[in-house]
């Protein structure tokens, strides 16, 4: 089948969206952006195709009334097993890479003991992998780096304590290996992994006989569908160095505008707060950008700001929002220079202000800065759509709602759980349109 690919190379993450001919999202994929944009593009694309398979499975299985109700449950189990397969595979890769590094190099002196310690650590991480992917299992993030990292750190600390092997060395070894592993696209035969996962889920659900046969056939049929990449459009921060030719590139502003329009056709104002940039975009009823504004050469108040604060307080990024939510009286903060954030925090703490009030104040400061960019792009018009990584932060969202309400009255504010894919979605739609325009042009010729 024909598919249309949109790639958004963000400063921190790379996103891919796959559309079918009727503008339905088939799949989404995400990975950390690295210096090598070609690899990031490939990985994100690969992830999106994996995701697309599940969409196709869903379509195949829902076609039959019998399975009806249970499709969702079944597919989520299926996906968990598949992800577990993937996780184990990459974990093995990671272990090999870690140990492979020992040959010569900076760890040579410690080689034997380090190898033992690493092996022990990986045994423990692998042992609990099943739990991570059990129903309701709590994973820190979608990225292998983060999931594996968190578990590795925890176990490495324990192991190093037991064996009195220097913890720092273990971390070092991990830090070096993870970059290599991350830069390798998911390897191996995907179909085989789907089938292994399918076998496990069928076994676990005790589905057998005709029913199992039918499911297997449906899945096989879906796997047989070729996902033909009919057109690809790239966008984003890395756009200038994108591994695509000019006609395959659209500005990120246009992509975000169109993406937001596709999600919410009534959208007129879009705010996107990413890792290093903040964009304010105005779109018309067709999703065409009429005006925009973005920060320039200064990363004040962007997503990374929260990262600095989290680092300073020794907390996870996802814990900041909840902490700020506890505040009743946010402190007033004027400076949003990301680098001085820590100093501002220390300053306020020494003045005796409460942590949650300061953190809430910092969230408000980010939002005010974003609002000033929105203002510069032409103000706020109903409906308002908030996208980008920071839209996941509940405290940022709360402050945004407050500020908008105080200053612009009641508005519809859209926040989509998939909002991080807005730019990629727009790009994919551009790909779809470019393809059909091309086809039309050919038809005419």
């Amino acid at each position: 089948m024909k598919t249309f690919v949109g790639i958004d190379l963000g400063s921190t993450t790379t996103k891919a969206v796959l559309l079918d001919e009727s503008c339905q999202v088939l799949g989404r994929g995400i990975t950390n952006s690295r210096s090598n944009y070609a690899i990031a593009t490939r990985i994100a694309g690969e992830e999106a195709r994996v995701d697309a398979r599940f969409t196709l499975f869903r379509r195949a299985l829902t076609d039959s009334g019998d399975f009806g109700e249970r499709v969702g449950e079944f597919l989520s189990a299926f996906e968990r097993f598949f992800r577990l397969e993937q996780f184990i595979e990459r974990l093995d890769d990671l272990e090999h890479t870690c140990i492979g590094q020992l040959k010569g190099g900076q760890f040579a002196a410690l080689e034997a003991r380090l190898s033992e310690t690493l092996t022990e650590t990986f045994i423990r991480v692998r042992r609990e992998a099943g739990e991570l992917y059990a129903p309701g299992g709590k994973r820190k993030s979608d990225f292998f780096r983060d999931i594996a990292g968190a578990r590795f750190y925890a176990h490495a600390e324990a192991v190093s304590r037991e064996t009195s092997f220097p913890y720092e060395v273990l971390l070092n070894s991990y830090d070096k290996a993870i970059i290599e592993v991350e830069n390798r696209p998911p390897s191996g035969d995907l179909d085989a992994k789907f089938r292994r996962a399918l076998a496990r889920v069928l076994a676990e659900d005790r589905i057998a006989g005709a029913a199992a046969e039918w499911i297997r056939d449906s899945i096989d049929a879906s796997l047989g569908l070729e996902l033909e990449e009919s057109y690809l459009v790239g966008t984003g921060y890395g756009r200038v160095t994108l591994p695509f030719s000019k006609e395959h590139i659209r500005s990120e502003i246009l992509c975000h505008g169109l993406g937001a329009h596709l999600m919410y056709p009534q959208t007129r104002t879009v705010l996107d707060i990413g890792g290093q940039d903040t964009k304010g975009i105005q779109v018309d009823a067709e999703g065409l950008v009429t005006n925009f504004q973005m920060n320039d050469r200064c990363a004040a108040g962007c997503g990374r700001y929260l990262g600095y604060i989290a680092d300073e307080m020794n907390m996870g990024l996802h814990e900041l929002g909840p902490m700020a939510m506890k505040s009743e009286r946010p402190v007033r903060i004027n400076s949003t220079c990301t680098v001085f954030a820590g100093a501002e925090l220390r300053d306020r703490l020494s003045l005796g202000e409460k942590r949650e009030d300061i953190v809430a104040g910092l969230h408000r400061a980010i939002i005010l800065r974003a609002i000033s960019i929105i203002s510069r792009s032409g103000g706020v018009t109903d409906e308002f759509t908030f996208t980008g990584g920071v839209a996941k932060n509940e405290a940022a969202v709360r402050e945004l709602r407050k500020v908008l309400k105080e200053n612009y009255g009641e508005l519809t504010i859209n926040i989509n759980p998939e909002s991080i894919y807005t730019g990629a979605l727009g790009a994919a739609e551009f790909a779809r349109r470019a393809h059909s325009d091309g086809a039309r042009a050919e038809g005419r010729a």
């Binding site: 290093q276 200064c298 990374r304």
Partner: protein, 281 residues
């Protein structure tokens, strides 16, 4: 004879010294340094001061003047406060009498100060609000690269092909660094690159206050970073019309505290002479 204390409350650490000053002769009685690590600076000031008293076997009543500097304006037991450019200039002269300029490189700001042989501040300039090229930035990157603070200097000296960080913003520079790591640039070359960009900023600062020759003393925590000192000298060497020498002293981090204590002694004498002060604080 005057016994004075100098307490330097920084953003990264609290430093305290106890000095005895007699007819221009200065004896170092005690010193103390406490890393801040999210603790209350005012409490640490007390702790550091008490530690110096204990070491010297003196009581607070025997100290004629307690001088604070840095962010120590609100230390409750101080006699007087001097601002850090005043004290760093004085402290640096004490450590190295030839000094005519100071580069104080702390966690967030860099300061260039020029002075005469008596420690009178002639001119000074601070880096602007933007934090790129600060100690904090270096610290963050070191943390990211898994490098301990005291390794930084020697690592930088091992660089063979430094990769220069061009972004003006520390955040954007951080991305540059992450990209460098994934391109396989060695930690040594990255650190040296950061040293280079810091040095270029700092040397410009010196130039802007017209320091062109003589001894420039680096004070503050980054004085311990031999790689930065070396880079500063290279940078000066490459600059037309600049002939200054940058040095650090093993006690550089105490320069502020020493300067404060010395100014305290001086002020005490003057006030005592005017009869405005006759007993210790």
């Amino acid at each position: 004879m005057t016994v004075t204390a100098g307490i330097d409350v920084g953003t990264g650490a609290v430093k305290a010294v106890l000095l005895r000053v007699e007819d221009g002769k200065v004896d170092w009685l005690a010193r103390s340094l406490w890393r801040m690590r999210q603790r209350d600076p005012l409490e640490l000031a007390r702790v550091a001061f008490d530690q110096t008293l204990g070491e010297a076997g003196l009581s607070q009543r025997e100290v004629s003047y307690v001088a604070t500097t840095g962010e120590g304006e609100s230390v409750p037991f101080h006699t007087g406060h001097f601002y850090s450019m005043t004290t760093h200039a004085r402290g640096a002269i004490h450590l190295e009498p030839e000094t005519r300029a100071v580069l104080d490189i702390g966690a967030l700001h860099g300061r260039a100060i020029s002075m005469d042989e008596r420690g009178k501040v002639l001119n000074y300039k601070m880096t602007s609000q933007c934090a790129s090229g600060s100690g904090q930035f270096l610290e963050n990157i070191a943390r990211y690269l898994g490098i301990a603070q005291d390794e930084i200097g020697s690592l930088s000296e091992r660089a063979d092909n430094p990769e220069v960080v061009s972004s003006i913003c520390a955040v954007l520079a951080e991305t540059d660094v992450i990209n460098m790591v994934s391109r396989g640039i060695s930690a040594a070359n990255i650190i040296k690159g950061i040293h280079l960009s810091m040095a270029s900023r700092l040397v410009k600062l010196l130039k802007s206050i017209d320091v062109r020759s003589g001894v420039v003393m680096v004070t503050g925590g980054l004085a311990l970073d031999a790689g930065l000192i070396a880079t500063l000298n290279e940078e000066i060497g490459n600059m037309k019309g600049m002939a200054a020498t940058v040095r650090a002293h093993p006690d550089s981090q105490f320069a502020g505290a020493i300067g404060a204590a010395l100014w305290g002694a001086y002020r005490f004498d003057r006030l005592a002479a005017r009869g405005e002060m006759n007993c210790a604080a």
